[in-house]
Subunit: 347 residues, 2 copies
DNA sequence: TTGTACGCGTTATCAA
DNA sequence: TTGATAACGCGTACAA
């Protein structure tokens, strides 16, 4: 009772061999009488197959892992939310790894693949895919989907698919919008430059300015972390350095929250005095006041695409590396449009 | 190369038996020369132990599952965020199950424990622990921690610990606060009554009113779902039925968001005309405008406590069922205090 | 149609 | 100190 029935227990009880039990349990053709006796015994014993033993034999765990920097970040929550039901529907369990964005932790996860405790992995490396990442992926012998940028020179043998977004275009959409509503002194609050998003968005900001014929002024740029308080610090610094700023482009929504805090604290009207745009279009964007215009990088779509690619590879066997690109879009809300900014009317 | 080295491969290469390989790998006393040869062979082959085989042999998976209604809910995110690092530090991997609050899915998870794919489970049943839950827990033979209420009559043999909060006291804190700031017509926006939190909070609301000597008026109560749009609907209904309401107690923060939406839309000042209190004290509460006073039910603490209880049981063997109670507290913000409500001054 | 026997990769016991 | 060997629970050739 305390140890749980196995097919051997059933075999004894039903008076047949373990092979017959296994056959019945797996629905292979068996004499009807045998089927009945086995099923009966299994029922009475409350038999449940041991998934570990099955995994050892079948060389598959029916588990998939998702590794990202921080499960507290709404972007990753959105991804998990899409990934989970897809995996579940396909019969896989989901493991979660939070890496804190530490490259070492990411490498541990990738190397851990060799222990074969999962059939595949979705990973979103925060600071980019290093040579060591690549080596670990090649050595993994389990399919990996990378959400984010991948080096151009991936080795042939790597079982890897790639889901990426185009934050360049994303930033461009935002700056175009700000330009359209008449803003010309557009500040930029970025995250760390040694992260993939940070670096990409920095470059994109310059490019977008150029395309708009606006000068690049490094006084308008502030670098911090991807958090709210850091965003507030950065905003404060930028506003005191360049009081005439009429728009703030923020590298993510949390930074934008911090910026909104400071603007409110200083009594500056949003978007009247300063328009604000966030990035990632998280749930937070519709909660702030004014609501936050934000560049959507399609977190949900990226999650879905990643799960889709992985499942396809798992179910339909080997295929060449693939890339899925999710197009960014701009969700315009109150922080850049007066109409929505004060629905209550005069107040 | 494609199949991965095992201890047998190593044994051949090192010219020793698999037993010796195993000993060396597990750090058991071995002749130094043997150690060197084995380690060398293992290194050269890039050996990594197969976790599934090890699990089969050791009867432990080093995995723990957390099952909750919806990973998109900030309450559960807060829990996961605490649970994950604790498990990781103790050498366990984390599996996530989203049950959508469906009792059937919860039962599937509980029954799935018999497949032995995890060493333990933390579960937060949305609609309460039914007789079927209890049976599954007893049959599980793996330790379970339930976050939420547990029936009084749990059978002896159940390996179950319990983490609960006291939402009665939580609601009481909120209503006391509202009463203190002079509110007397306190509406209540609740979630479904067939959920554990919904039922508990409904009762708590009545009790708290009574304690304050305020009459219970069913016109002041609206029942919907635990979501923002539902909260908005409920608020609209309540406000049109009883325009003179001077406070809204909301059964969670999402409902409160919806209420804030409606109040703003109707041009009612918060907290001047109507004070609002949420519940759960999620990250959202500090993002809204005005910021949201909210009853903290200690999601993070509950997560931590649950992980602690489970790990303790796993590491230190059997012990009687335990209960950890997390005390609620009230985080006062702008939606109930004028001072914080308009920091920008006259505007 | 059924049963025997082996292998999946480890760990642990028991002789030698 | 070491090697042969037996589990762990399941699936499946192969032979009967």
């Amino acid at each position: 009772m305390t140890e749980g029935p196995t097919i051997t227990t059933i075999a004894q009880r039903a008076g047949v061999s373990i092979a017959s039990v296994s056959r019945v349990l797996n629905g292979l053709p068996t004499r009807e009488d045998t089927v009945r006796r086995v099923m009966r015994a299994a029922d009475e014993l409350g038999y449940v197959p041991n998934s570990v033993a099955r995994s050892l034999r079948n060389r598959r765990t029916d588990q998939i892992a998702f590794a990202m920097a921080d499960i507290g970040n709404p972007v990753y929550v959105a991804m998990v939310r899409e990934i989970q039901p897809l995996l579940k529907a396909a019969g896989y369990r989901l493991l979660i790894h939070s890496t804190d964005g530490e490259t070492d932790d990411e490498l541990d996860v990738l190397r851990g693949l060799r222990e074969r405790y999962v059939d595949g992995l979705i990973i979103s490396p925060l600071r980019g895919v290093t040579q060591e990442h690549v080596e670990a992926i090649v050595a993994a012998r389990a399919p990996v989907v990378v959400i984010g940028a991948l080096p151009d020179d991936m080795p042939e043998g790597a079982l890897v698919d790639n889901v990426r977004t185009d934050s360049r275009t994303g930033v461009r959409l935002a700056l175009d919008h700000l330009h359209t509503i008449g803003r010309r002194r557009i500040g930029f609050l970025n995250g760390p430059l040694d992260t993939v998003p940070g670096a990409a968005r920095a470059a994109a900001y310059r490019e977008a300015l150029e395309a708009l014929g606006l000068p690049y002024d490094e006084d308008l740029v502030e670098v911090g972390d991807f958090y709210r308080d850091s965003g507030a610090r950065a905003a404060r610094a930028l506003l005191s350095r360049v009081p005439g700023v009429d728009a703030l482009m923020c590298a993510n929504d949390l930074i934008a929250l911090g910026a909104l805090d400071v603007l409110r604290e200083q009594g500056r009207d949003v978007p009247g005095d300063v328009a604000v745009v966030g990035m990632d279009d998280t749930d937070l964007a519709s909660v702030t006041w004014p609501t936050l215009t934000s560049v959507s990088l399609g977190s949900a779509e990226r999650g879905r695409a990643a799960a889709g690619l992985l499942l396809d590879r798992l179910q339909n066997g080997p295929r060449g590396p693939r890339v899925a690109v999710v197009r960014p879009s701009l969700t315009i809300r109150g922080s850049t449009t007066v109409s929505q900014a004060s629905p209550g009317g005069a107040r």
